[in-house]
Subunit: 244 residues, 2 copies
């Protein structure tokens, strides 16, 4: 048996948002690797071994997946959302650095519905014009770089989507980011807190930027900040296709 | 019968990337509205009426969909990719402006796999760190704004995804954008031209930014420019999760 690694996006939570391509690959896999709650989404079946691991061990998990594939296993590395957006794909390629078989190992990334797009769809189309997407966790980059990007994104008048806004261990980061955005962006920009989109715990709040407070976000929340042109119509929020 | 509008993302091209939620909605619709090639992707069946229209009539198309829903039809407005990313969702909400039933009409957006995520997955994980997404068409915004955003995005060291890089009617825009990026970004950044991803005509080119030329893109191409940290490993391109 020839081994492979597929890095599979499970979408934001509900099965209706997992692509048929991803489902077909999960059905062929001999091994599932991933963070505990994502692995738990895959039904058990004969011939399938699950390897669930804790958060923050992405690189160990990626190495384990590559090693199993080298030994002939068909390994699905599962991520929530899209594996290429702040998820497992980069960790797998990082684990491949320096490997003599980097060119020949059979690795593919299968895209998924990432949280910001699911959240945007629920509320209308806040990402309907130019936007940026920033990971607010300062585990892997300095706060100074996050701050620089926030300032430039505000100056560019992008709508912005924020991943990992607020971890339990470092809750102060999001307070700083929010305070900076409240200083540099117009008060009319709407901000959207979308938690656990497409699951039973889904909760969506929309409010003017000045009314936002840090505890409105947790690690299951994606935050979207409108641009200066983002508008309300009926119960929807959208960013028009045109700009001046 | 109570009418509705669903704005449905068909993904980048192949059926394996259409979500089950989107498929279920297409199966319930009485009417399909959209740009000719996207409507052509939906199989005919008894009870389904297709309304295909040309490019650049997004607002007329959106109004038509809303009016049919008001008259009781169950209307799927189809977009390629994700409807909230430079596609039909914003046009539908724009068409809803000022309508007395803006609050009560039954409208939902169903997310899809947008082109940049499908393209990124094919080549590795070039959008694995902070990135921005810019529509390069100057039909609906001035070139000065595009230029400002490109300069600020380069300064922020975002990876960048570009939609609608080069139209037949205005091919010079992409030449200007590319020339600007070649001036302000380091020569080591890789650029990816991904055409017709997930279809039989799929074609993907990766090269150093200085080697890119405008005719490498057309309207079916999404272009991804790496950040300063984007790297090659084996035959893949990825942006590491960490930054300095």
């Amino acid at each position: 048996m020839s081994g492979w690694v597929r890095i599979v996006g499970l979408g934001p939570g509900c099965d209706g948002l997992i692509t048929p391509e991803a489902q077909a690959t999960l059905a062929e896999a001999t091994d599932i690797v991933g963070y505990i709650p994502y692995v738990a989404r895959i039904p058990d079946r004969p011939g399938l071994t699950k390897h669930a691991s804790d958060n923050r061990v992405e690189l160990d998990r990626a190495r384990h997946a590559l090693d199993m594939a080298r030994a002939g296993a068909q390994v699905a590395v599962v991520s929530s959302g899209d594996p290429g957006v702040f998820a497992m794909a980069s960790a797998v390629f990082e684990a491949l650095e320096g490997a003599p078989d980097a060119d020949t190992l059979d690795i593919e990334v299968l895209p998924g519905i990432t949280a910001m797009l699911a959240a945007a769809a629920r509320i209308g189309a806040p990402l309907g014009h130019d936007f940026c997407c920033i990971n607010l966790s300062d585990n892997l980059k300095p706060w100074t770089l996050i701050e620089k990007r926030l300032r430039l994104a505000a100056e560019a008048d992008f709508a912005m989507a924020f991943y990992n806004p607020r971890s339990k261990s470092r809750p102060e980061g999001f307070a700083r980011a929010l305070s900076l955005l409240q200083q540099v962006c117009a008060d009319t920009r709407p901000i959207i807190f979308a938690r656990a989109v497409s699951t039973e715990e889904e909760e969506i709040k929309v409010l003017p930027l000045p009314d936002a407070t840090p505890e409105m976000a947790d690690m299951r929340t994606v935050v979207i900040l409108g641009s200066s042109t983002t508008r309300h119509v009926g119960r929807y929020v959208y960013t028009p296709r045109f700009a001046k």
